[in-house]
């Protein structure tokens, strides 16, 4: 079979191709703002053994700036880490570099992965390549936008509650959230450790599959990682779908029906499933995610690295000033929430209760996958939204995580794919599969891709990208 990287192979070793590429990135990113740092030279320097035969040789890829790459910044989109240069490289990135891949740049994100628009970045604004007035989604907005606009072959993101799938849906690319533990988290800056996973944004199913196959696997540096094995076999051709009023925008609703019709026509049986716990996904998610975040972000105090205030008299003042001046308001909000739900006296009713409900959510999916081989559902109730008053406020954005958070809570793999372009904007749908069933996702979505390939945003059509 043809390598999914063919169009990008040795891209950076050919000086003419490289110049064309770098010029394009410069021009395109002036409008999109996907990258916080772009340096192909430095990326090439990380490839120790330039073997032109390697499957990723010379292939440029981008990494969300919440994943460590030695010698590059690791800002997490935050003022508190604005000047931090990473002294080490994440396991997933090391594996890509070992195959010859060239890490060309770090992409923008919502600060510490907290948000659905990438507007919560303290360090830059990322626009949706389909409409500069709209957000790219988040929190991996920079990675999705870079791939959508053809600025990288693929990009790594992180998905804690939908942060790869939602921006991928907003930008019209594929977005994989692997099974929890399938990809080492070593080097992924923790937002919520029991939910976080490194994911992939790409313009084709096969490239997504190839990248996942490279980065997956048990890692001795991440004791929550698992080998996973060959995964479950396809058990049937039943696709679970959601019934009732899902509160979707009309364009999203149309796209959902379109994908259902497609799979029905392909001979799949669509079966409405009852996810009894669905109403609890968002509160359970935010309770657990913020609780873990409150501890994960405690290390940022300006003592050993990162932002330090101009003046402080003692360690307490130093720490408080560094955090108060260094974190943005959404991060502070989530730290406060997470601290609160863990406090003695409140922990039982919030954190402990959420943990129990999480078990029920897990059991709910076990039951659903007893009947259906896959579950098909929307990614987000809206398409990429506008900035300002007509967009969604932070609270509405949280409520809109109701379709994506389930996969994180249950630790299951899920993948969003471009299902339609409605009113000039892409719409994404997602499949969920049983644990380590990534191959089932690829196989199912490949059928759709064969008929509806990855769309290309009108103003970003470099010759090297595929799609329609």
């Amino acid at each position: 079979m043809e390598s999914p990287f063919l169009r990008w192979r040795n891209f950076l070793s050919d000086s003419a191709a490289r110049k064309k590429y770098e010029d394009y990135v410069k021009a395109a990113d002036a409008k999109v703002g996907a990258f916080l740092e772009f340096d192909a030279d430095r990326g090439l320097g990380l490839v120790s053994d330039a073997n032109p035969g390697a499957d990723l040789a010379g292939v440029p890829f981008a990494v969300k700036d919440i994943i460590a790459v030695k010698g590059f910044h690791l800002t997490c989109g935050s003022k508190i880490l604005e000047n931090l240069v990473s002294p080490y490289t994440a396991t997933a990135v090391e594996k890509l570099i070992a195959r010859g891949g060239v890490m060309v740049g770090k992409t923008n994100l919502d600060e510490f992965g907290m948000g659905s628009s990438t507007d919560n970045s303290a360090l830059g604004k990322t626009n949706n390549p389909w409409d500069q007035g709209r957000v790219a989604g988040g929190s991996s907005g920079g990675s999705a936008a870079a791939v959508a606009a053809g600025m990288a072959a693929f990009a790594l993101g992180s998905d804690t509650g939908g942060s790869v799938r939602q921006p991928a849906a907003f930008c019209g690319v594929y977005g994989l959230k692997p099974t929890y533990g399938a990809v080492s988290r070593y080097g992924l800056v923790a937002y919520a450790s029991s939910l976080d996973v490194i994911g992939v944004c790409a313009r084709s199913v096969e490239m997504t599959r190839a990248v996942f196959d490279i980065i997956r696997g048990q890692d001795e540096k991440d004791q929550s990682s698992q080998a996973g094995g060959s995964g479950p076999a396809a058990k049937n051709r039943v696709i679970g779908v959601l019934g009732g009023n899902l509160g979707l925008d009309p364009a999203v609703d149309r796209a959902y029906r379109k994908t259902m019709d497609f799979y029905k026509a392909q001979g799949f049986e669509l079966r409405e499933i009852n996810l009894a716990m669905a109403e609890y996904y968002v509160p359970v998610y935010y309770t657990i995610a913020t609780a873990e975040a409150s501890a994960n972000l405690a290390r940022y105090t300006g003592v050993r690295y990162g932002y330090r205030p101009d003046y402080a008299e003692n360690p307490e003042e130093l720490t408080r000033k560094a955090r108060s001046e260094g974190f943005g308001s959404e991060v502070k909000l989530r730290i406060l929430l997470g601290t609160y739900v863990l406090r003695s006296g409140f922990q039982d009713q919030y954190y402990q209760r959420a943990h129990k409900l999480r078990e029920a959510i897990r059991a709910d999916f076990d039951k659903a996958f007893g009947g259906a081989g896959l579950i098909l559902m929307p990614v987000f109730p809206t398409q990429a939204f506008l900035r300002g008053q007509s967009g969604l406020d932070q609270f509405q954005q949280k409520l809109a995580d109701r379709f994506t958070t389930a996969a994180n809570l249950a630790g299951l793999p899920a993948m969003s794919f471009p299902a339609a372009v409605e009113d000039g904007l892409p719409v994404g749908m997602q499949f969920m599969a049983p644990a380590f069933g990534e191959a089932l996702l690829f196989d199912a979505i490949k059928l759709y891709e064969a008929q509806f390939p990855c769309p290309v945003p009108p103003s970003y059509k470099p010759e090297w990208i595929e799609g329609s």
């Binding site: 002294p87 029991s194 509160p283 078990e359």
Partner: protein, 94 residues
């Protein structure tokens, strides 16, 4: 319905989190926190009897061998905001 966070609870929480909240933050974050906690209260209606808090399906007993793997300590010190010899320095006016 459980009680939402009042200002004194918010202040205690901020102190535990090592955050200084200015008057403005206190008001806006306080409102937002309250809104979300109200929303969280839907969890209180769920029947959790018979449910145990589990742990994400990770395997047990992952261990690494007791082997020294020297790191590059000097590179880490380069990121420190202030040094005195090899010590990292923080202000402490008594």
């Amino acid at each position: 319905m459980i009680h939402s966070m009042d200002v004194s609870e918010l202040k205690i929480t901020a102190e535990l989190a090592n955050l200084d909240l200015t008057g403005e933050d206190l008001a806006s974050l306080g409102n937002e926190v309250e809104k979300i906690l109200d929303y969280f209260s839907s969890m209180m209606e769920a029947d959790t009897a018979g449910l145990a808090a589990g742990k994400a399906g990770s395997a047990a007993n992952r261990l690494r061998p007791d082997v020294r793997t020297p790191g590059d300590a000097d590179a880490l010190l380069e990121n420190a905001p202030e040094l005195e010899g090899r010590f990292i320095v923080i202000p402490n006016v008594l």
